[in-house]
Amino acid sequence: MTDTVQSIPASAYDMSHVDEVEERRTLAVIVDNEPGVLGRVVGLFSARGYNIESLTVAEVDRRKHRSRITIVTNGSAHTLLQIEALLLRLVPVANVTDITKSKRGVERELALIKVAGTGDKRVEALRLSEIFRARVIDTTNESFIFELTGVSDKIDQFCALMKPLGLVEVSRTGVLSIKRGAQAG
């Protein structure tokens, strides 16, 4: 194919794809919830040197024992196609949907954020949390735990603002995603 000639490396041993543009993708992987299935998915990424930015997994259909794994990964267009094909090669994987590619994906993340402080800092933390529509789910005289949902950037931003105000600990779910509209992904 002539349009890819300039990016072909001299040997399979130096195929690095470093010159190619990296894209970020969110993949929804529907699997049979059987022992070891998460290990297979994660092992595929580590064995082939692919990157996982975030990963969430839970059973979504108890009766059919179906789990949904949401993986945020990045790589060149070629790498991302390989990742999809290799995921489908795993026996318990039912299907793989690229939520980002559809341009109709909705992504959300949930975070629990512990902030400790007194006086002005404590007041400021509570005031900012209202702007971000975070909920206070636990409080002591010198600390809050906030519950915040939103896109990952929003959570990043909130954590950055909390840092000087006494950020102690952050726990995040990783990205969850689903497609807009009436149809299933």
């Binding site: 194919m1 072909i8 040997s11 399979a12 130096d14 195929m15 070891g36 290990g39 390989q82």
Partner: protein, 590 residues
């Protein structure tokens, strides 16, 4: 012990022990031979196998031997090979054959014993995380914790191992599950809902492919192990499609035999040690039709110079093979036989195009006679040894296995195959020690055939002990060692890449192979004289029992022609290595 014998009719609801479930399921799957080695964690299955008349169990000497024997059985019959080993070291010794079968897409079902389920995770005696260890080198694997899942699991494993892109499947069974009593279910209706390999090609893709084929002036078929795996009907369809189109055919190492080597349009194997004509045809073609091959780095050579002027069609049953290394113009995800037959239908009665210019050019490359070598009256040239072996065995019912190294490439170059499933070699993983146990497996499947392991003296010593298996089970395999006292391919690369510094590649103290064969209860033959070679080969063939043939060949012969690392298909070394063929970048490659 549960000794009840059940009538055939109610197999659907039979109750039996886990061990009996395994044996019953194997019988239902049509398994007639299995390879294994007992141990603590599989004793219940061995007990169920005791006196079982319909399954022949071949006792090996090392679990790796069981795995390669199962591979040899599978590759020569088209059926799944079956191996049974114990937990811990039994399972870890199986890892190499499992990885080998994965790389070469060989259908295999491996049963491993596991410590009782309540001891899993306690570092119990002979415990290892078998499913963890084999997860990344098997097509699929199972740890069966409930005896009622066992029958379904075995049937599902056979389905997965033998369909789609074939491969090894591991079933790990804790000892208490083998003892427990549960329901047996038959294979009918067992399926895996998430496992749906695509086998039928898209009609549109077939139309586009055939349109490209009709326009091509310099076409070539590049076929691989997928044609063999697809079954004999794929080889038949390939021959028919070639007859209709007149296109030249080359093949990978794994695909040899799918197209007859005696055919005038046969180009020989391609790749690093392939023929000059095959590689130049690949380089200069305008249409490359890849069928069941995967553009391995040993095939493509320098990627940015790989077949630069061609349109590329890639037929593969595994979608992840498409565009993995080489970008193609037209992917077809389907089974090879289905695709070849669909192409044949689409081609219809169209006359074969006029390819006379292309064929003339190919004849010019063939005229270089790239496999020629300097003959000798005083020493046996390794190529000559394979040539004579071929001439003296070609009219028999012969199966060939090999180890890995120079002898393997000489066998691929100088032994010629007319039929599929006759050539068993470790291609992807390159496992030294594959050939001898594979020969055991082939002979077990074809008791009356002539089975020859073309070996090197270094490789054969890796799994030498399986000679004892061959003697015990009266498997008259012939181990034909091209003995040059060197790890020949390592030596060749040290000559080519490392300034002739032969670091640890010479075998200082080889055994006396004749005495070794006799010690095991086989026959040993020694030959170092080209004039005696024919008679001694005939003596080997005539002997009814295992033979080790110590064929002393030229010590420092190089395997040529060769595409050096980092070079293109049209930059082959044809005659002598001078040492400056490989540039700095090429030296870093494998």
């Amino acid at each position: 012990m549960d000794t009840q014998t059940q009538p055939e009719a109610d197999t659907e609801t039979r109750t039996m022990t886990g061990a009996e479930i395994v044996i019953t399921a194997l019988k239902e799957q049509g398994v007639d031979v299995m390879f294994g080695y007992p141990g603590g964690a599989v004793l219940p299955i061995y007990d169920a196998l005791f006196g079982e008349p319909s399954i022949k169990h071949v006792l090996v000497r090392h679990e790796q031997g069981a795995g390669h024997a199962a591979e040899g059985y599978a590759r020569s019959t088209g059926k799944a090979g079956v191996a049974l080993v114990t937990s811990g070291p039994g399972a870890t010794n199986m890892v190499t054959p499992i990885a080998d079968a994965m790389m070469d897409s060989i259908p295999m079902v491996v049963f491993t014993g596991q410590v009782p389920s309540h001891l899993i995770g306690t570092d119990a005696f002979q415990e290892c995380d078998t499913v963890g260890i084999t997860r990344c080198c098997a097509k699929h694997n199972y740890l069966v914790m409930d005896v009622n899942d066992l029958a379904r699991t075995v049937h599902e494993a056979f389905l997965i191992a033998t369909t789609g892109r074939p491969g090894p499947v591991v079933i790990d069974i804790p000892k208490d599950v083998q003892f427990a009593t549960g329901r047996y279910i038959g294979k009918e209706g067992v399926h895996k809902r998430t496992y749906k390999p695509v086998t039928q090609p898209q009609p549109k893709a077939i139309r586009e492919a055939v349109a490209l084929m009709k326009k091509a002036r310099r076409p070539v078929f590049y076929t691989g192990g997928g044609v063999i795996n697809s079954g004999p009907e794929a080889s038949t369809a390939l021959r028919k499609l070639q007859a209709a189109t007149g296109f030249p055919v080359t093949s990978t190492l794994m695909g040899l035999g799918a197209f007859p080597a005696s055919h005038p349009d046969w180009l020989g194997m391609l790749g690093m040690h392939g023929s000059y004509e095959a590689n130049n045809t690949m380089h200069d073609c305008d249409l490359l039709i890849c069928i069941g091959a995967r553009f391995d780095d040993r095939v493509t050579g320098r990627l940015d110079a790989f077949s630069p002027g061609s349109k590329k069609i890639h037929v593969d049953i595994d979608p992840s093979s498409i565009n993995k290394v080489v970008r193609v113009d037209l992917p077809i995800i389907a089974d090879c036989a289905n695709t070849l037959n669909a192409m044949l239908d689409e081609w219809g009665t169209t006359a074969a195009p006029d390819l006379s210019d292309w064929k003339t050019q190919i004849e010019g490359w063939k005229a270089r006679k790239c496999f020629d070598y300097a003959k000798s009256d005083t020493e046996i040239k390794p190529q000559y040894a394979v040539e004579r072996l071929y001439e003296l065995t070609k009219d028999r019912d012969t199966y060939i296995s090999t180890e890995v190294g120079q002898h393997q490439m000489w066998a691929a170059q100088h032994y010629h195959f007319e039929e599929p499933n006759r050539w068993m070699t470790s291609g992807g993983l390159g496992t030294m020690g594959y050939g001898l146990p594979a020969a055991v497996g082939i002979q077990a499947a074809h008791p009356n055939a002539l089975v020859i392991d073309i070996a090197g003296e270094a490789s054969v010593q890796m799994v030498m002990q399986e000679l004892s298996t061959a003697v015990q089970h009266r498997l008259p395999i012939k181990i034909f060692i091209l003995n040059n006292e060197w790890m020949g391919m390592v030596r060749q690369w040290q000559e080519l890449l490392h300034g002739e510094r032969y670091s640890h590649s010479y075998s200082e103290s080889l055994p006396d192979f004749v005495k070794l064969a006799e010690a095991y209860g086989g026959m040993g033959i020694y030959c170092d004289d080209p004039k005696e070679l024919d008679a001694k080969i005939l003596e080997m063939i005539a002997y009814d029992g295992p033979v080790v043939f110590d064929c002393r060949v030229t010590k420092a012969e190089n395997c040529l022609p060769m595409i050096p690392s980092g070079a293109a298909h049209n930059e082959m070394i044809l005659s002598e290595i001078t040492g400056d063929e490989i540039d700095e970048a090429g030296r870093k490659l494998v």
